[in-house]
C-alpha cells in the first residue's frame, strides 16, 4: 500500500464505527477537513456536530453527549485540544466519561505550519490525568484498528494523529490491543521503544546499525498509557540498554513513561530521543528531523553512543 497519513485512518475508521455503533457521533472545531472527521458525514450527516472554533465548548459538549449514552469522538489539532485541557480534566477525566479525543497534526512532523501547530507536550499532559488512556498509532492500518478498539472501550482517551503520510507496516490481520507493545524487530544489544513517526525512523536506524553488527529490538509503543510494563521490563533485562524515541518533548512523554517503569523496577542505562525541551520551526518534516536529531541517522548514532556507555 502507498504511504498514508494516520489521520486518514482516523477518518476512514470513524465512518466504519459509525456504521457499526448507532451511538457514535463526531465533533470537530472547524478542522474536520484536516482531521478527516468529515468522513462520518458519508454515513450520517446528523452525527457530525459542528462546534466552530471553540475547543472548550467542544469538549464540554462531547462530555454531555457521553453522559447521555453517545460515543463522541472529538477531534481538532492536538495543540488546540490543549486549550481545553482543564475541561478535559474537570469534566471528562474526573467523571470517567466516554469521550474519545483525537489530536491531529502532532509533533514537528507537522512541518511548515511551524511551532504554533506542532504539539510536543500533548502526550505528557494527557498522561497525567487519572482515567485517561493515551494512544499514538504509527500507520494507517494501526490507526483504524485503534479507532475500532476505542469505540469498543469505555472511558476517556486521547489519541495522537499525524498530518503527513507514513509507510504502512501492518496488514488487515494485525491484532491491536490497547496497552500492549508490539515487537517489530528482534535484537540483543539494545532496545528502542518508539512511538508514532519514530517507529519508522527507528526501524531505519536498526538497518543502519545492522551494518555495524549491532542488533536492536524495535518496539512500537502505540499505547503510552497504560504503558506495557511487562514488555519494557522483559526487554530491559535482556539488553540492559534502553532507548526511547518520540516526536515529542523528552520531558513527560514516552521517555518519561519508560523511565518511570525502569527507575522503580530495573534501573539500567537509558537514553531518551525526542525534542530536547525546545520548540520546532517551519520546514519540511525530513529537514526538521535532521536538524532536531530525530532522523534515522541520528537515532543510529545515539544508539551507538549509548551502547558504548553500556560496555564501560
Amino acid at each position: 500500500m502507498e504511504p498514508k497519513a494516520t489521520r486518514e485512518g482516523y477518518g476512514d475508521a470513524l465512518a466504519e464505527v459509525a456504521k457499526k455503533y448507532k451511538n457514535v457521533v463526531a465533533l470537530d472545531a472547524d478542522l474536520n477537513d484536516s482531521t478527516r472527521s468529515d468522513y462520518i458525514k458519508k454515513v450520517d450527516p446528523s452525527r457530525f456536530i459542528s462546534m466552530g472554533i471553540a475547543e472548550q465548548d467542544m469538549i464540554g459538549t462531547a462530555a454531555g453527549l457521553a453522559a447521555s449514552g453517545k460515543i463522541p469522538f472529538a477531534s481538532t489539532f492536538a495543540i488546540f485540544s490543549e486549550r481545553a485541557f482543564e475541561f478535559v480534566r474537570n469534566i471528562v477525566s474526573r467523571n470517567n466519561l466516554n469521550v474519545k479525543i483525537a489530536g491531529s497534526h502532532a509533533g514537528i512532523f507537522t512541518g511548515e505550519d511551524g511551532k504554533s501547530a506542532q504539539a510536543i507536550e500533548d502526550i505528557s499532559i494527557y498522561r497525567t490525568l487519572p482515567n485517561m488512556i493515551v494512544l499514538q498509532p504509527c500507520d494507517y492500518i494501526e490507526t483504524k484498528k485503534a479507532v475500532h478498539a476505542l469505540a469498543a472501550y469505555h472511558g476517556p482517551s486521547f489519541m495522537r494523529l499525524l498530518r503527513n503520510p507514513l509507510p504502512i507496516i501492518h496488514d488487515d490481520n494485525y491484532k491491536f490491543e490497547i496497552g500492549k507493545g508490539e515487537i517489530l524487530r528482534n535484537g540483543k544489544d539494545a532496545v528502542i521503544f518508539a512511538t508514532g513517526t519514530m517507529v519508522h525512523e527507528s526501524l531505519a536506524a536498526a538497518e543502519i546499525l545492522k551494518k555495524d553488527n549491532i542488533a536492536i529490538y524495535v518496539v512500537n509503543v502505540h499505547t503510552i498509557k497504560p504503558i506495557d510494563e511487562k514488555l519494557i521490563m522483559s526487554l530491559a533485562k535482556k539488553t540492559n540498554c534502553v532507548i526511547t524515541a518520540e516526536d515529542h518533548n523528552i520531558i513527560g512523554g514516552l521517555g518519561s513513561a519508560v523511565a518511570e517503569v525502569l527507575g522503580e523496577n530495573y534501573p539500567c542505562i537509558m537514553k531518551r530521543i525526542g525534542m530536547e525541551d525546545q520548540y520546532g520551526e517551519s520546514g519540511k518534516p525530513a529537514e526538521l528531523y535532521e536538524k532536531y536529531g530525530l532522523s534515522a541517522k541520528h537515532v543510529a548514532e545515539k544508539v551507538k553512543e549509548i551502547i558504548k556507555r553500556k560496555k564501560k
Partner: protein, 296 residues
C-alpha cells in the same frame, strides 16, 4: 425538619394543575432549602451559603414544580436534566435533592466530610446529580451535549442549567450560548441566578456582565427577565421558557446573594464562608420568621 413535613413536601410532585395554590408551598420549600443550606454549611464550617440562598427559590420551583424526574430511578433515561453549573452552590442543591427524596435528609450531615457522597462540589456518584460542577463556565456546554443527544434520539426531555452572574465572565459560557442557538436547542433552558455578588465584591465592580438579557438575546436566545425571588413569576416563566420553539431560552432571575438573612444579603464575605454559631442562630431566627409570613 420533622418527618411528617418531609413527607408532605415529597408529595407535592404528585398533585397536578394546582400551580397557583402551590406557590405558597413552594415558598415554604425554598425557605427550608435556605435553612438546610445554613445548617449544613454551619455544621461543616465550610461551603458556600450566599449562592445557595439566592438560588433557593429557583431550585424549589424546579424540583417541586417543573422537573420530570423520579428520585426512585435517578438515571431514568427520559428524565429532565438539571445541570448546576455554579457547583459551589451545592448546599442548596443537596438540600433540594434530599427533600425530593434522592437520599436521606440525615445524609446532609456528611456534607464535605471524608467518604461522603456530598462532596464540596457535586459529583456524578450522588443520586440525582447530572453534572459535576466546581469549575465555572462548564455547565452550559455540557447541557448542550445532553440537549443534542436528546434531539438525535427524539427524546422529549428538557435540560435546565443554572449558572451564576460571576460565572458569566467565563468565555466558555458564551461559546456555549453561541452553540446552543446555532444548534437550535429549544430543549435547553438556561437560568441565570443573577445575585449581583461574587467572591471578591459586586459583580458590576469586578467585571460587569450587564445588560445580561440583551447579551443573551443577541446570542439568539429567547430571554425572560424576572424577579428570581417571586415564586409565582418563576413558575410562570419556567412554563413559558419550556414552550419556546426553535431556539434556546434563558431566564435571567434577578436575585439577591444571601437572600433571607439580613447580614448576608449582598455581602460578598458570605460567598464562601460558613456562619459562626452566633450568626447561625440569628440567621435561623430570621428565616423562621419569613416562613411564617409567607411573603414573596
Amino acid at each position: 425538619m420533622d418527618k411528617n413535613k418531609i413527607m408532605k413536601i415529597k408529595n407535592f410532585q404528585d398533585t397536578e394543575n394546582l400551580r397557583f395554590s402551590r406557590v405558597s408551598e413552594l415558598r415554604k420549600i425554598a425557605n427550608e432549602i435556605r435553612k438546610q443550606s445554613l445548617i449544613i454549611t454551619h455544621r461543616a464550617q465550610s461551603g458556600h451559603p450566599g449562592g445557595s440562598l439566592s438560588e433557593a427559590d429557583i431550585l424549589a420551583a424546579l424540583y417541586f414544580y417543573k422537573l420530570r424526574v423520579n428520585p426512585k430511578n435517578p438515571n431514568w433515561e427520559d428524565r429532565d436534566r438539571f445541570v448546576l453549573s455554579k457547583g459551589h452552590a451545592s448546599p442548596g442543591y443537596y438540600a433540594a435533592l434530599a427533600m425530593k427524596g434522592y437520599f436521606p435528609m440525615k445524609e446532609l450531615e456528611t456534607f464535605r466530610k471524608i467518604n461522603s457522597r456530598l462532596q464540596g462540589h457535586p459529583e456524578l456518584k450522588t443520586p440525582g446529580v447530572d453534572f459535576a460542577g466546581g469549575s465555572l463556565g462548564q455547565g452550559v456546554c455540557f447541557a448542550n451535549g445532553i440537549a443534542i443527544a436528546g434531539k438525535l434520539d427524539n427524546k422529549k426531555y428538557k435540560v435546565y442549567v443554572l449558572i451564576g452572574d460571576g460565572e458569566s465572565q467565563e468565555g466558555a459560557v458564551w461559546e456555549a450560548a453561541m452553540a446552543a442557538a446555532h444548534h437550535k436547542l429549544d430543549n435547553l433552558v438556561v437560568i441565570l441566578d443573577k445575585n449581583q455578588v461574587q467572591e471578591t465584591g459586586k459583580t458590576k465592580d469586578v467585571m460587569n456582565i450587564d445588560p445580561a438579557p440583551d447579551k443573551w438575546k443577541s446570542f439568539g436566545f429567547e430571554a425572560f427577565d424576572i424577579d428570581g425571588h417571586d415564586m409565582e413569576k418563576i413558575v410562570e416563566t419556567l412554563d413559558k421558557a419550556g414552550n419556546v420553539k426553535g431556539k434556546p431560552a434563558i431566564i435571567v432571575a434577578n436575585t439577591i446573594k444571601g437572600k433571607g438573612v439580613s447580614f448576608m444579603e449582598l455581602n460578598y464575605k458570605f460567598h464562601g464562608k460558613a456562619p459562626d454559631d452566633e450568626q447561625f442562630k440569628q440567621a435561623m431566627e430570621e428565616l423562621s420568621k419569613i416562613c411564617c409570613e409567607a411573603t414573596k
